[in-house]
């Protein structure tokens, strides 16, 4: 390990220092200082982003020492996700500012926790070693447990945090045990080394058990059936901006790690785990989308819908091809953007802590705020995969990858379920356009509008001109894809 290696870690270091500063800042600045905290957090994200861009160009000249290289890589795949997380967390911060002010919660710890979570996510997508991935994942998880319970006066929020914590810890333990089994067979925790050793192993039951346990832990994080039971309760109980965080950045981070481990380390053994993952994917799509049909609470509906989306995303991992990986990244990007936009609108509609949550709160939105109703339609169509939105490009790519790798039956399940999903997305559209207006004003402030408008712009732009995104994503995947061949 040399000093130059720190270049690789610079963005995470900046974030860790910044997060600690945010914890200490209340002692320096008296009072709640909501806007001060907001600006400092945004400034921190800006610095971290700048550092990331600097680091990603600087590392091309400074090769990492062997010890770092075995633990931590800063490849295009990692940079893509780090930028995605930075953007998503910036959006979450903007979504949170008003909520914190109105609820009179301390902003400093909240932002500090978000920064720690971000640091964990950024660290784990760079992980080239099961332990470094594990550390990042735990940093993310522990911060998320606390964030989910941020409404500490409310039983439902506390219950959500408790449930999330208990189930999350169990899944982490299962995952860790799976890692230990993999270590036992291969004698290594580095992804590259595991892949190397696996080339010489034709069959090993212990290894399969280890892989399945590892996958089970990851499936918990991405909220795939049958590891999904926490999702609806946590999404509903957590403060809405935290739900936005959990359903976008946190989920994308878990998918990134999922893809990193399975593409880089376990692709040799795909025939042994593909069946299990395929079943999980199919179950997630079917259960998530069918359960979403009957929900009247928007947060709960989106929770089930996100379970369904986890199933679609798994197609990208199952494909085990360059196309599959590209499609997964594209899909996560469009999913995060559209979902973030929806959360921004849900928060706009709030009238108290848990409002903006029932479908009836959306009634007549078209009359109250036609532009935002239109934006909501675009987001919903994007989640449903209807052109000309970005979601269509994402789904198209995923199905293409699935069929290309021979997962025809899963692709059929996926398209049928995406048709089913339009049914409940349309319920919101029906409420907005076809129901009467109860005449409540919406609570749109500048930061919410900024987030929603940016998401709208990205969703439409990626839908109409996807070429730049596709080129960029494929280019960023060189190192991961190289391990496939």
């Amino acid at each position: 390990m040399t000093w130059l290696d720190l270049t690789y870690l610079a963005p995470e270091i900046v974030l860790a220092i910044g997060a600690c500063w945010l914890l200490l800042a209340p002692f320096v600045f008296r009072g709640n200082g909501h806007s001060l905290a907001l600006w400092q957090m945004l400034f921190l994200l800006l610095i971290a982003g700048g550092t990331l861009i600097w680091a990603s160009s600087a590392v091309e000249q400074t090769p990492a020492s062997a010890i770092l290289r075995s633990m931590f890589v800063l490849d295009g795949f990692a940079i893509f996700f780090k930028l995605l997380f930075l953007g998503a967390v910036a959006a979450v911060v903007l979504l949170s500012s008003d909520f914190l002010r109105e609820e009179n919660h301390s902003p400093w710890e909240y932002y500090a926790l978000l920064a720690f979570a971000l640091c964990g996510m950024m660290f784990m997508v760079s992980g080239a070693h099961l332990i470094s991935i594990w550390i990042g994942l735990e940093l993310l998880s522990v911060s998320s447990y606390i964030l989910a319970g941020y409404y500490k006066e409310h039983a439902v929020s506390t219950e959500a945090a408790m449930k999330y914590f208990l189930l999350g810890s169990i899944s982490s333990a299962v995952m860790l045990y799976g890692m230990s089994l993999i270590f036992g067979v291969t004698g290594s925790l580095g992804l590259g080394d595991i892949a190397h050793v696996l080339q010489g192993i034709l069959q090993n039951d212990v290894l399969v058990v280890g892989i399945v346990m590892l996958a089970a832990g990851l499936c918990f994080k991405i909220a795939a059936v049958p590891f999904h039971v926490w999702t609806p309760d946590v999404y509903v109980g957590a403060p809405t901006p935290v739900t936005a965080f959990l359903s976008t950045a946190s989920k994308a981070a878990a998918f990134a790690v999922f893809a990193r481990i399975f593409y880089m380390a376990l692709s040799q053994f795909r025939l042994d785990w593909a069946g299990v993952i395929a079943a999980v994917a199919a179950l997630s799509m079917v259960v998530g989308n069918l359960a979403a049909l009957t929900q009247d609470n928007v947060k709960r509906m989106l929770a089930w819908s996100s379970i369904g989306h986890a199933g679609y995303g798994l197609l990208g991992i199952l494909a085990m091809s360059e196309l599959g990986l590209v499609s997964l990244l594209v899909y996560l990007l469009v999913y995060v953007v559209a979902t973030m936009g929806i959360w921004a609108l849900v928060i706009m509609l709030r009238r108290g802590e848990y409002a903006g949550e029932s479908i009836s709160d959306f009634a007549g939105l078209n009359a109250r705020a036609p532009f935002w109703a239109f934006a909501m339609v675009v987001f919903l169509l994007s989640l449903g995969g209807i052109p000309p939105t970005a979601g269509f490009v994402g789904k198209y790519y995923l199905f293409l990858a699935a069929i290309g790798s021979g997962w025809g039956w899963l692709a059929i399940v996926a398209v049928l379920m995406s048709a089913v999903s339009m049914f409940y997305y349309l319920r919101l559209v029906v409420a907005m356009y076809l129901r009467d207006d109860p005449g409540r004003p919406i609570a749109a402030n500048a930061s919410l509008k900024l987030v929603a408008a940016a998401c709208l712009l990205i969703t439409l732009a990626l839908g109409l001109a996807p070429q730049p995104m596709l080129t960029e994503v494929s280019r960023s995947l060189r190192t991961v894809v190289a391990t496939l061949r």
Binding site: F392, G406, W407, A419, Y433
Partner: protein
Amino acid sequence: MTLYGGDFPILSLITYIPLAGALLLLLIPKEKVGAIRTGATVIAAIDFALAVPLWWTFDFGPASALFQFREDASWIDALGVRYIFAVDGISMILVLMTTLIGLIAIYSSFTAIRMREKEYYVLILFLQTGMIGAFCALDFFLFYVFWEVMLVPMYFLIGVWGGPRRLYASIKFFLYTLSGSVLMLLAILALYFFNSDGIPLLNIQGLGNVPTFAVEQYHAIGHLIPPTLQFWLFLGFFFAFAIKVPMFPFHTWLPDAHVEAPTAGSVILAAVLLKMGTYGFVRFSLPILPDASVRLAVPVVILAIIGIIYGAFVSLVQKDMKKLVAYSSVSHLGFVMLGMFAFNPMGVTGSVLQMINHGISTGALFLLVGIIYERTHTRMIADYGGLAKQMPVYAAFFLITALSSMGLPALNGFVGEFTILLGAANRNIWWGVAAAVGIVLGAAYLLWLYQRVFWGPLDNPKNRDLVDITLTGREAWTLIPLVALMIWIGVYPKPFFDRLERPVNYIVEKIDPDYFTAERLSVPPPPSAPTESESHAAVAGTVQ
């Protein structure tokens, strides 16, 4: 004219003018209803005016290209998606019809739509772009985008401006068509892999071509697709198109959608959206999957015949005029499918012509039902009777349209149905017999409808104050172009046959490469050796 012959992207212009117009309409404040109506009409009229010259600039001579007015640009290189627009005789006529129907639909809505006018016209124009684009697109990706884009505005048109059960009808419409089209998406993707890398886990060897979504490439490799794969791909496309057509038993969304939709929505739905399904069969299923088309022809034809007879019988017992017209669509589109799956030039030509005829006649019938509904707010046949005395002009228009729809000679329906009948009977005499029964039943329900509504005593006192339409009025002018077309096609359909000949022969040859050579061998050679197209022109000539 360089606008139509050269490199100018005339098809894109026609496609996107409604979209640009819709965006312009958004700038008008919603209180200025008059300006919005005029604006929408002007935009649709410009679009139609730009489309009309396609009719005579389209080259249908013996040396002409199949697809003309071609535009080809790169779009998403990463996937091999290109932006390809071009029309053959079939899609050119359908584009023309779409622009005309759009104009009429907008023009007919002035008094019918009294709320949220701005959104209404914006959505109709948006829908126009989707429909025209779907007819012009020759790249699967592009086609699919337009195909899906059409769903959203139609969903809103039914859902916002529809009748009492509009929510149910609009969601049913959306989900039915969406579930069909996602299966088509899978079929498209499977084709894509067959053309390039193959599908390893299904043991399907690819052709190793450059990945592409260009439809013509798939026309070229259609005969290379193994029969089993063709079978599954055909099913994938079949669900999408059969739901849209709609064929029995996938038709159940149609009566709901039609009955609940506002008049203009019904007109567009009947005249253009249903044609998307039949167009899909002609453009994709038949030429790309010839083997599966032949093997599955009998089941498809059985469904078509059930549709013809069943649609007609259900029409007979309807109490609601609009529902009657809606079910008559099921019957009429059964004819279209029957002719198409006869796989001979007669049948396919008749089928395409009947697509146009159905658009004109049924569109006009929906307009007529809408006109009376606006006056009385009832569509129940029992509420009427003796209207011919009260509204003679309206009755005359209704009579011509009904006669055209049932296939009276000298009107358009006859030409289409008769050609289909010849084609079907040529293939299998019983198909012809079944179709003939359908024609008789068609006459029955339409004439009986006419009798109950227009003849007899003027019983209902509410109908005594009804105001007739005037020949100079707006309502009449929504109908006059359609009636003129009915007469034109009925009396002199040759220009249509001319333009359809080449694409139809192309499709027939795709299905059976030996069709024309075999036919030539069976008849004694005439003095001057005829080309394939001439022999067909002679056949078509006997119909006129």
